[in-house]
């Protein structure tokens, strides 16, 4: 594995790439950004001030220990068998405030960002915005940088009926 430094610009580009894959529904390209061992976590809120912090003792909105969980989700989105996903909502991810917050381990960085996702439900003609913060660990691989873990802190967790991986 090559040990390389990740410039803030490259980190941001990777995050933008992920956002575009979701918005353009390029599901397989999106999955390819994740390592097979990637952890994907959207904690719930314990109270007004704190999210849950221990996924084995507390509830999360979504918690997958590996990419296989995300593969299930994508299978479901494509399957046509989920009425909540058919038709899909239209999304526009705006990812901002991208910062490399820890680069002390060679070949690995921690990146934080802010997100705001506009979601339009074409069936009901209603719009909603999910917003919050992303925390990534990215890893350098032979194929380039990949997502080793992603935590999504959803700040507005009063959810109008449906939230899914492509809306966050």
């Amino acid at each position: 594995m090559s040990v390389e430094r990740l410039s803030p610009q490259t980190a941001a580009t990777l995050l933008y790439q992920e956002a575009l894959f979701l918005d353009e529904r390029r599901w397989d390209d999106w999955l390819d950004l994740y390592l097979p061992t990637a952890r994907y976590w959207v904690p719930a809120w314990r109270n007004e001030a704190e999210t849950t912090s221990d996924p084995d003792r507390e509830i999360s909105l979504i918690y997958y220990e590996s990419r296989a969980g995300l593969e299930d989700r994508i299978w479901r989105l494509k399957s046509g068998l989920s009425i909540a996903s058919n038709p899909l909502r239209r999304t526009a991810h705006a990812v901002t405030n991208v910062l490399v917050t820890d680069a002390s381990t060679p070949g690995e960085v921690e990146v934080k960002a802010t997100f705001n996702v506009g979601v339009f439900d074409p069936r009901r003609k209603t719009s909603h915005a999910f917003f919050g913060r992303y925390l990534y660990r990215l890893q350098s691989t032979d194929e380039g940088w990949r997502i080793a873990s992603k935590t999504i802190v959803l700040l507005n967790d009063q959810i109008p009926a449906v939230a899914d991986v492509y809306m966050l």
Binding site: V42, A44, N47, I62, S66, D72, S79, A84, A161, A163
Partner: protein, 456 residues
């Protein structure tokens, strides 16, 4: 204003003709909504939460009864009571958090203060205030609910004093609560992390859907197929559950594997035997539970059970264990507050499994619940059309329903008012009749009072 005749015209209940139908207006008419808030949510017992949410003296949590903000508090002496969460002075909300701890609750507006038993402890500048005798003779305490009750750690209240005891309200459904709270000698607790969501449809859609077995294979095929996929291509950490689609092929049609029970007060339960009992987190306690309660009650604890205590709480023990509190906001908008509940003291491994199963199926971000809520919204849209107003979703099981208990209820001495024993294909709909009979009784009574008042 709706009259008792109007209400009688919304539910067509003629057992002698084999007819039961509900008018679509029940889900869409704002006047009906107003009346049911008064009659049902503000006129009788509703569920508040669990005593285990108040583990220490001076703990509190906040909730609602109908449109009223409520604070449930454990006083310094350990007793629990519920109050309107509103200062008697200017009305400001007193307890600000969903869960909190305070010996003294100070109103944020003019600093009137109250202890955790709701007693007024200070009125700022009282001596200098030149108050009249009339003011001094008034109570300045927080308004307590008219009735408060605790059944084995489940907390209920009524804003209407003119109701029977909580024990009578729960009636013969109490043994079904026992199947939940007896899973551990220390009862049940809420797993940290509350999930709240809304849907744009009537609250009774949620009431019905929890008791509706007919929808399962239609609404959740994506979830069932994912379970199958996980069996075919196992990966480490894959979440399994109690359903095994393969078992459908070995089940004998007509041989009961579940069913429904209805109770007079509008409480209902639907149940089925688990295909894969060992996938349940509670399975680890199987031997202990058998020892303590006998095999029959143990088996009942391991069956999948959806219990609704009319009108606002559901304990769903199927994919995992979910406590659902239904909060109607308007005729076409409902908020759901949902929690994972679990027996106190279960192993870390069982708890982890319970949580994974919970997130997998439930949650507005899970693989099944969103498909339900989107269907509720589809019904709300469709029910805008009232050209053909009588809904036909109450007929399945009509010829299978028997008065009183069936042989499965007898095993634990359960005494429902009616029972349906069913194979997995029957999918009884008479279970909803109990909801609407309780609904009609209570809403008609309030409509009658209002009509009489309007005349006098």
């Amino acid at each position: 204003m709706l009259t008792p005749d109007d209400i009688a015209g919304l539910i067509d209940d003629r057992p002698e003709d084999g007819v039961f139908s509900v008018h679509r207006r029940l889900f869409t008419d704002p006047d009906v909504f107003e009346l049911e808030m008064k009659a049902i949510f503000e006129g009788g017992w509703v569920f508040l939460g669990l005593a285990s949410q108040l583990s220490r003296p001076n703990d509190y949590f906040t909730t609602t009864i109908g449109r009223h903000p409520i604070a449930v508090m454990r006083a310094a002496d350990g007793t629990i009571n519920a109050f309107i969460n509103s200062c008697p002075h200017k009305g400001a909300r007193i307890c600000p958090l969903e869960q909190g701890h305070a010996k003294l609750h100070v109103c944020p507006y003019h600093s009137w203060s109250f202890d955790s038993a709701g007693k007024n402890r200070a009125i700022k500048g009282r001596v200098q205030g030149a108050y009249s005798d009339g003011f001094d003779q008034d109570s300045h305490d927080l308004n307590a609910v008219a009735r408060f009750g605790d059944y084995k750690g489940l907390l209920f209240a009524s804003l209407n004093a003119d109701v029977g005891p909580l024990e009578d309200h729960l009636g013969e459904a109490k043994p079904l609560i026992d199947l939940i709270v007896d899973q551990s000698p220390d009862g049940i607790e809420l797993v940290p992390g509350v999930v709240s969501f809304t849907y744009e449809a009537n609250w009774k859609m949620q009431l019905e859907n929890c008791s509706d077995q007919y929808h399962f294979s239609s609404v959740h095929p994506s979830y069932l197929r994912i379970l199958e996929r996980r069996t075919e291509r196992a990966f480490e950490g894959a979440t399994r559950n109690m359903w095994d689609v393969a078992k459908e092929h070995v089940e004998v049609p007509g041989e009961p594997t579940g069913g429904t029970y209805s109770f007079d007060q509008g409480h209902v339960m639907n149940w089925r035997m688990s295909d894969v009992p060992e996938a349940l987190p509670l399975h680890e306690r199987s031997a202990i539970l058998e020892q303590r309660y006998g095999a029959a009650k143990r088996d009942w604890m391991l069956h999948s059970r959806n219990l609704t205590l009319f009108p606002n709480v559901q304990f769903a023990e199927n994919a995992s264990s979910q406590l659902r509190i239904i909060r109607p906001i308007s005729v076409g908008l409902t908020e759901m507050r949902t929690y994972c509940f679990a027996p106190v003291g279960e192993s870390g491994e069982a708890r982890r499994k319970r949580i994974r199963q919970y997130e997998d199926f439930f949650n507005p971000s899970g693989l099944a619940t969103p498909d339900d809520t989107v269907v509720y919204e589809a019904c709300q849209e469709g029910n805008a059309s009232q050209g053909s107003p009588w809904l036909q979703g109450y007929g399945r099981g009509m010829c299978a329903s028997v008065k009183g208990p069936d042989r499965f209820a007898d095993l634990i001495g359960l005494k429902p008012s009616s029972s349906v024993a069913a194979d997995r294909w029957l999918s009884d709909e008479t279970i909803f009749h109990a909801y609407y009979r309780a609904w009609r009784a209570r809403v008609s009574a309030v409509a009658a009072t209002q009509s009489a008042e309007a005349v006098s």
